[in-house]
């Protein structure tokens, strides 16, 4: 039935960003909006999304919103991306969406029906508000809801930015009731119409039920008279009346199906134990009573009626509910619909079968990644500890491992392996799931051998599973390769890790594989960096970040490895501010607390950053914790190497080459950079022959990137310089410079030592055309003598107070002004100034400021 007065308001509503259609269940909200669209009164075909309770995870919600828009061909293009996680969605994705909508010629109308189902989620409300704020005229939001959304409605209302259609507006007026009755061939007197409208409060569902009941009553007039005079609550009375007029089979089907969100005829048959659901549901749909179609032969009970029918079920068939839930769980999990099956399994207590089915359907990876992960995890959290069977233990393993609880994860994994033959010979799916989790556990304990062995078991099990079933679960392969590659990387098997991770990146991409892709690209970047290829490392790290953004992953949920690599590359380029920023982002990742690679990387880079800022003792202090053996993981050879290398660098900078030698001597099998550091430590004590011997032992393969080659060449140049062979020193330095130029690797030159500056001062033409070098190295600035232990180093760091004084000095404030500004006496400031001059090896103010700038203290 058309309701022009309300349709008009919806059309007018298109002039403001938000239209709210609020009212109780059965008020006719959805029908009204659907009718408005059908009448083509809406400006463009709207994107329609009926919100489900499961959608209150923001990632899931936005996935469906984007899908609803894409279905209409309204874009948004793939560059906007799709959420890869159920949780919070990164605002960059929403900003891209808003930008895309803002560019369209016509606003997109987005209808969110049954929005009350996610009304409790402040995240979704915040995110909707964010999009509305940034979209300009590009979006018209129509919210159909039983409750008010958590948007800042008072603000919208004050600005006239919202159209409200509320329960009182939706209520049928007398003339509308009359029209409705006419359409059903019923004619009442004016008094009768008024009484009926009053009795139902104009409530649409009540009127519809009332007409249905009257039509089926022996004498409709008497029914209506009795109804008007009655005092019963509307919904329950009317529903009971209408239900009573249905056949016993129909009643039984409706009451039993009330436990379902959506009804499929075959599922309904499973609940009734009969085979008549197809004709019954089709009949109910034709009568437009209770059920509506949702496509692909699924039906949906009107939510209000479903609630009331559930009450009837409990009264009519007490104790039957759990059994119905078990049947529904079985049917749904056999149909592969786990997200829907699990709540029924929980209600029916049939966990053994459900977990078995879950594993058999190869769904185990969905607990580890993708949009359903958190929901499945929450549902399985209700599984009692007594549920037996290897499948239940595999589910527990996956849940513990995603929480980084390796010990308990391993306990359950062992129990699952011991019970693999619990139900006879284990199926391929069971073996595959078990091996997949073994790869993950091996990764978390840094055990590359175990990971490789488990990966072979995965391959063997995969061969026994039909290809199309494997194709339906791309996440399994992506996860396995990511975990295997990570374990290989930790163990320093860089070639193997690189080929494993590259294979994972080449896999088909989708929301289920977005996170593994992001991890793989980050780790490929790390391998590039460790091999001395900063440009490639940066490229891979940026791809990893782009992949995370496309998947709407907020920074905290990313791996942190990409940011670590970017920090390391910036440090090699001597861009300390950028290095700092990237390091902070890496530390903000939640993985930072669990992933041994991130933990080690953070300490190493913090230490190197402190060293670059002239604080070798601080740099050493940061490394203390790395020396403690990790609680879970096996030690990683390259992490130990790098730790030794960084410690040695700090000791060398602090003027303790013997300590550096001793540290590096402990690990003779270390990589080229450690050999270079050892050679430099020998050079620092004048042991040139030993240094040359060390450098001569370097194989120098084609795998070594410019970051390594540059350091090797510089160490050779230093040795040549120490031997007085200045032409060789110049030649090697020139080669080092041209090797470093494309990636602008400034750090090796900055930390090379005083010999390089002396060389450059003698032969300034060496650095000609190398404007990328820091000014101190270009030969035209005299570097203060005090820093000959290494440029960029202070023999004694400035105190906080001294730094404050220095800053004011740089603003050419007078001593008196500085004293007043800092609430200090003039004499105290003079003492600070003296110390600053001493530490900066300056005799005058201008000199102190210049040196401080060169050392980037300002």
């Amino acid at each position: 039935m058309r309701r022009p007065r309300l349709v008009e308001r919806l059309t007018l509503g298109m002039q403001v960003p938000v239209t709210l259609v609020n009212g109780p269940a059965g008020a006719g909200k959805t029908l009204l909006v659907a009718d408005w669209i059908a009448m083509e009164e809406s400006p463009s075909r709207p994107a329609w999304l009926t919100v489900e309770t499961e959608d209150n995870a923001p990632g899931v919600f936005w996935t469906y919103v984007l899908e609803a828009m894409r279905r209409l061909g309204l874009g948004p293009p793939d560059t906007v991306g799709s959420p890869a996680r159920p949780g919070e969605v990164d605002h960059s994705l929403l900003a891209r969406l808003a930008a895309h909508l803002g560019e369209l010629t016509e606003p997109v109308v987005l209808v969110l029906d049954e929005f009350d189902r996610v009304a409790g989620s402040t995240e979704i409300a915040d995110e909707l508000e964010f999009v509305l704020r940034h979209v300009g005229e590009g979006l018209r939001l129509v919210l159909i809801s039983r409750t008010e959304p958590l948007l800042p409605l008072h603000r919208y209302r004050a600005a006239g930015q919202v159209t409200d259609i509320r329960g009182a507006d939706l209520a049928f007026r007398q003339e509308e009731t009359a029209e409705l009755l006419n359409r059903h061939g019923m004619h009442l007197s004016d008094r009768g119409v008024r009484a009926l409208t009053e009795r139902t409060g104009g409530w649409a569902a009540g009127l519809r039920l009332c007409i249905l009941a009257a039509q089926r009553a022996e004498d409709p007039d008497i029914f209506l008279k009795n109804f008007e005079a009655g005092q019963s609550t509307l919904a329950d009375f009317l529903l009971a009346e209408v239900l009573d007029t249905q056949s016993a089979e129909t009643q039984d089907l409706m009451v039993r199906s009330s436990i379902l969100e959506q009804i499929h005829p075959d599922l309904a048959n499973a609940l009734t134990g009969r085979d008549d659901a197809h004709p019954i549901l089709a009949g109910l749909r034709r009568a437009n009573a209770f059920v509506g179609p949702v496509g692909h032969s699924w039906y949906r009970l009107h939510p209000l009626f479903a609630e009331i029918l559930r009450v009837h079920l409990r009264v009519r068939c007490p104790g039957l509910e759990p059994e119905l839930h078990r049947r529904a769980a079985r049917w749904l999990s056999e149909a592969g619909r786990f997200a829907e099956a699990l709540p029924h399994a929980a209600a029916g207590g049939d966990w053994e079968r459900t977990s078995h089915q879950f594993v058999e359907e190869l769904a185990i990876g969905q607990l580890l990644t993708g949009l359903d992960a958190e929901r499945l995890d929450r549902l399985f959290s209700q599984m009692p500890p007594a549920t037996p069977g290897p499948a239940a233990d595999l589910v527990r393993t996956a849940r513990h491992l995603t929480r980084h609880d390796v010990d308990r994860g391993l306990d359950h994994l062992r129990r699952a392996e011991d019970n693999l033959h619990y139900d006879g010979p284990p199926s391929a799916a069971l073996r595959l799931s078990c091996a997949e989790l073994r790869v993950l556990a091996a990764r978390m304990t840094g055990a590359a051998d175990l990971a490789e062995a488990a990966a072979q078991d995965v391959e063997a099990a995969r061969r026994a599973v039909p290809a199309e079933r494997l194709e339906a679960h791309p996440e399994l392969r992506a996860l396995m390769l990511t975990d295997l590659g990570s374990a290989q990387l930790w163990a320093g098997r860089f070639d193997a890790a690189r080929s494993t991770l590259s294979a994972a990146v080449r896999l088909h991409d989708g929301p289920h594989t977005a996170f593994p892709r992001h991890e793989c690209l980050s780790r490929l970047a790390l391998i590039d960096f460790l091999r001395g290829w900063p440009d490639r490392a940066e490229r891979h790290a940026r791809e990893a970040v782009a992949e995370a953004e496309r998947g709407g992953l907020p920074p905290a949920t990313r791996t942190g490895v990409a940011q670590l690599v970017l920090a390391a590359v910036a440090l090699d380029r001597d861009e300390l501010t950028a290095a700092h920023a990237n390091l902070d982002q890496a530390a903000a990742s939640t993985a930072a607390a669990h992933d041994p690679i991130v933990l080690a990387g953070l300490s190493l880079l913090r230490s190197r950053l402190l060293l670059a800022k002239g604080n070798p003792e601080g740099a050493l202090h940061v490394l203390d914790e790395l020396e403690e053996p990790h609680a879970v993981a096996e030690p990683s050879p390259w992490v130990s190497d790098r730790t030794a290398l960084t410690m040695a660098g700090a000791h060398l900078a602090a003027g303790r080459p013997e300590v550096a030698t001793e540290i590096l001597g402990k690990d003779r099998a270390a990589g080229p950079e450690s050999v270079v550091a050892a050679a430099r430590a020998r050079l620092a004590v004048g042991a040139v022959e030993e240094a040359l011997e060390l450098l001569g032992s370097l194989p120098g393969g084609p795998e070594d990137g410019p970051a390594i080659t540059t350091r090797v060449l510089l160490a050779r140049a230093q040795a040549a310089d120490a031997l007085g062979d200045s032409s060789a020193a110049e030649r090697l330095t020139a080669r080092a410079l041209s090797t470093a130029r494309p990636a602008r690797l400034r750090r090796p030159f900055v930390e090379a030592g005083p010999w390089l500056r002396h060389l450059v001062r003698r032969r300034p033409e060496l650095t000609r055309g190398h404007d990328w070098l820091p000014p101190a190295l270009l030969g035209h600035t005299r570097v203060p003598h005090a820093h000959d232990t290494g440029p960029g180093l202070l023999t004694e760091p400035l105190s906080g107070r001294e730094h404050e004084v220095l800053e004011r000095l740089a603003q050419t404030m007078s001593t008196e002004d500085i004293a007043a500004d800092l609430h200090l006496s003039v004499n105290t400031v003079k003492t600070h100034l003296k110390n600053i001059y001493r530490k900066l090896a300056a005799t005058r103010r201008s000199e102190a400021v210049r040196h401080a700038r060169e050392l980037r203290l300002l």
Binding site: A25, Q231, S232, E307, V311
Partner: protein, 65 residues
């Protein structure tokens, strides 16, 4: 905390079964439900249940014991 909730209309016996934790008394044109409510979570849960069953709450108050 003991609460009393008044609902518009006379609830059927079946419908009162949906609130086994509450006692119900049907008065002319109204149903009065009362019982112990542990905390706010339960209270809001109850109100949602009333709403989802199409029942209109007209009054709700806390009783002094």
């Amino acid at each position: 905390m003991r609460y009393e909730i008044r609902v518009d209309g006379e609830m059927s016996h079946t419908m009162t079964e949906a609130f086994p934790e509450l006692e119900s008394v049907v008065a002319p044109g109204q149903t009065v439900l009362s019982g112990q409510i542990a905390d706010e979570v339960q209270l809001y849960g109850l109100l949602t249940r009333f709403q989802s069953l199409g029942l209109h709450v007209v009054e709700m108050r806390r009783l002094h014991e």
